[in-house]
């Protein structure tokens, strides 16, 4: 490409690169004015305190203060927060939520989709499920929201014993179903349908095949088949990738990371590593995989593990030994895994080094019918702006840990209406970062809370 073509390409990309929702957040101008006023007031107060401090300091120097020169550090854990709203959603069983522009969306057994105003918590849109029979849908996720369309799941044959699953595109503005596409199975995991640049990558029509669907029309763009492997799916930089691991002991014992051309589905193997692996997540342009390193038979067996980092741009692979399989949320080079018994462990996504571990101090009840089972905390919701990882328990307790050190920075609680219900072992609440605050879901309870963090050390 010559200089002229490059100039044009950059210019065109820059001019067509638009944010998802360019409209101004509600009352943003007023909020800026209020922040500005607060800041001005703080400056005035700060100046006054500064003068007072000088005077007080002078007293200390002359010994009048009677202090021994030491000062207790201020508590670094805040317990302050602002509960903006709390809502009980209709229906009984809710499986997954996601946030969109000024809204939060959830999906459950009785509703294929419900939309709430993120400012007020009021239900503004809902799509009831048809033929609800079991009262429970397969747990999982919501694929997401893009350009005013919510991608969710619904039963393919409502009311049937084996209802199957459709990927459904709901137009939020018109409240219409734009299209549906039947998936390979009832898995409604986050990787069952992945939004990529220009389409949705769906696990259909069989478990060994993926189909790229036009995100506006649902038209099939291309399909891709892989044998002898089970693959996870993710979009990195808008491009679909498959992370594949052998589907049996008879299959070739290697894992591959495969890039699929967004326009044609043409596969390109980025990297191959020995043995079966589990997909952990992405860290920038790198895919993180976990493998066994201690002679275990299955990935779920406890024991040492290998963290494999694949740079999808260069195909470079680096491998590091870790004390256990670090499955969890990846945030800015840190993997936040569950350490069991309600603790969190952080590993470096670069070299697998254990950075910190911390008891979350949350209330996780044991199931009296099976003491080995207990409630789970939510996955970490990470506010990268403040570098805090938040967790929520099923009783409404919240904690915020410093992402880099694991130190406790915030504690909060929301009064949920179901504290004494039967323990639902294995069902975790959900927590999402939204506009520097949090939106949490515990069963049918949804709330928005703004933690007040302690000021950072100077």
């Amino acid at each position: 490409m010559n200089a002229d073509q490059l100039d044009r390409a950059i210019r065109d990309v820059l001019h067509t690169w638009a944010p998802d929702d360019p409209s101004a957040p509600t009352d943003v101008a007023d909020r800026i004015v209020r922040r500005h006023r607060r800041r001005s007031r703080m400056r005035v107060t700060g100046a006054a305190l500064g003068l007072t401090g000088i005077a007080f300091g002078a007293l200390l120097v002359t010994g009048t203060g009677g202090d021994d020169g030491t000062r207790q550090p201020a508590s670094r854990v805040s317990r302050q927060s602002n509960l903006l709203w709390q809502t009980t959603m209709p229906g009984k069983s809710w499986d997954a939520c996601t946030t969109g522009p000024r809204a939060v969306y959830c999906r459950g057994a009785e509703y294929d989709g419900i939309g709430l105003d993120a400012r007020t918590g009021k239900v503004v849109w809902q799509q009831k499920a048809k033929g609800v029979s079991s009262g429970r849908s397969p747990a999982g996720s919501l694929p997401g929201v893009r350009d005013g369309v919510l991608y969710s799941y619904a039963d393919h044959a409502p009311g049937a014993p084996r209802a199957g699953t459709d990927l459904v595109a709901f137009h939020i503005g018109s409240r219409k179903v734009l299209w549906k596409h039947e998936l390979a199975d009832d898995s409604r995991r986050w990787s069952s349908a992945v939004l990529f640049d220009g389409g949705v990558l769906a696990n259909a029509p069989t478990s060994k095949r993926v189909t790229a669907l036009d995100y506006r029309t649902g038209r099939t763009l291309w399909t891709h088949y892989r044998s002898d492997v089970d693959c996870d799916r993710a979009a990195i930089g808008g491009v679909p990738y498959l992370m594949c691991s052998p589907d049996s002991e008879k299959a070739p014992q290697r894992s591959t990371v495969v890039r699929l051309d967004p326009a044609t589905g043409e596969p390109r193997t980025v990297a191959t590593v020995k043995g079966p692996t589990a997909y952990i997540g992405t860290d920038g342009d790198a895919v993180l995989l976990g493998g066994m390193a201690g002679g275990q038979r299955f990935l779920s067996d406890p024991g040492p593990a290998t963290l494999t980092r694949v740079d999808v741009s260069s195909g470079k692979v680096s491998q590091h030994r870790v004390d256990s399989l670090p499955m969890g949320v990846v945030a800015d080079g840190i993997i936040l895994a569950s350490g069991g018994n309600g603790s969190a462990v952080a590993y470096s996504a670069d070299d697998g080094k254990r950075l910190w571990s911390r008891d979350l101090g949350l209330k996780l009840r044991k199931d009296s019918r099976d003491p080995t089972m207990r409630e789970l905390p939510s996955d970490a919701a990470v506010d990268l702006g403040n570098r805090v990882a938040y967790y929520l328990d099923p009783s409404g307790h919240l904690v915020g840990l410093d992402l880099d050190s694991g130190a406790m920075r915030w504690r909060g609680q929301v009064q949920v209406q179901v504290p004494k219900r039967q323990v639902e072992a294995g069902v975790a609440p959900e927590l999402m970062v939204y506009d520097h605050g949090l939106i949490g879901q515990i069963g049918g309870e949804l709330f928005r809370i703004k933690p007040t963090l302690p000021k950072a050390r100077s």
Partner: protein
């Protein structure tokens, strides 16, 4: 701030938010949260001088350029760049599909350093001349020239699909040359 100024400021934000967010989105490499922070920080600054400023938008933009460059030292996360509005065909007749090229260039832009990206955004999106960029960023024209050159080289390095610069590409149509560029 009196009610009249408040009203004017509110109108300004309502009308210009999307344009400012678009610029911030480019400067931050597609990071929505960082982009909103950048716009709000710049608007806070303009608010402090609201009465003295004749061209609020120009001021806000300049604050955003400088602020973005000064923030480059902060360790920030690499988030997914969002390509929310699918653009039309780029029309680059080099055998590469337009969608691929757009994705490639977009990803490469997102991976430049904030300083490099800011330089390209000012030259190719804001259409500022080298002199104007130097004035906006408070550096010399030579620095603008060398940083632009390095940014383009790094862009090619990050996106090998763009290929090496063609030796014969001597004639550049004047319409595609940034203002003030020397060819």
């Amino acid at each position: 701030m009196d009610p009249q100024d408040h009203e004017r400021f509110r109108d300004f934000v309502d009308v210009r938010w999307s344009a400012l967010l678009r610029l911030a989105n480019l400067l931050t490499g597609g990071d929505r949260h960082e982009a909103e922070d950048l716009v709000q920080s710049a608007l806070m600054k303009v608010l402090g001088r609201w009465r003295q400023i004749e061209d609020p938008e120009g001021y806000v933009r300049k604050v955003m350029y400088r602020h973005q460059i000064s923030r480059w030292r902060l360790r920030r996360p690499h988030r997914e760049a969002t390509f929310a509005a699918p653009p039309k065909d780029l029309g680059v007749a080099d055998g590469t599909s337009a969608a691929d090229l757009r994705i490639t260039v977009g990803q490469a832009l997102a991976r430049l350093t904030p300083r490099q990206r800011t330089m390209l955004v000012l030259r190719y999106f804001e259409d500022l001349s080298e002199t104007e960029v130097a004035s906006a960023l408070g550096c010399s024209v030579g620095t603008v020239r060398s940083t632009t050159h390095r940014s383009l080289a790094r862009l090619r390095g990050l996106a090998p699909e763009l290929g090496a610069p063609a030796q014969a590409a001597a004639t550049v149509p004047s319409s595609s040359v940034p203002k003030g560029a020397h060819v």
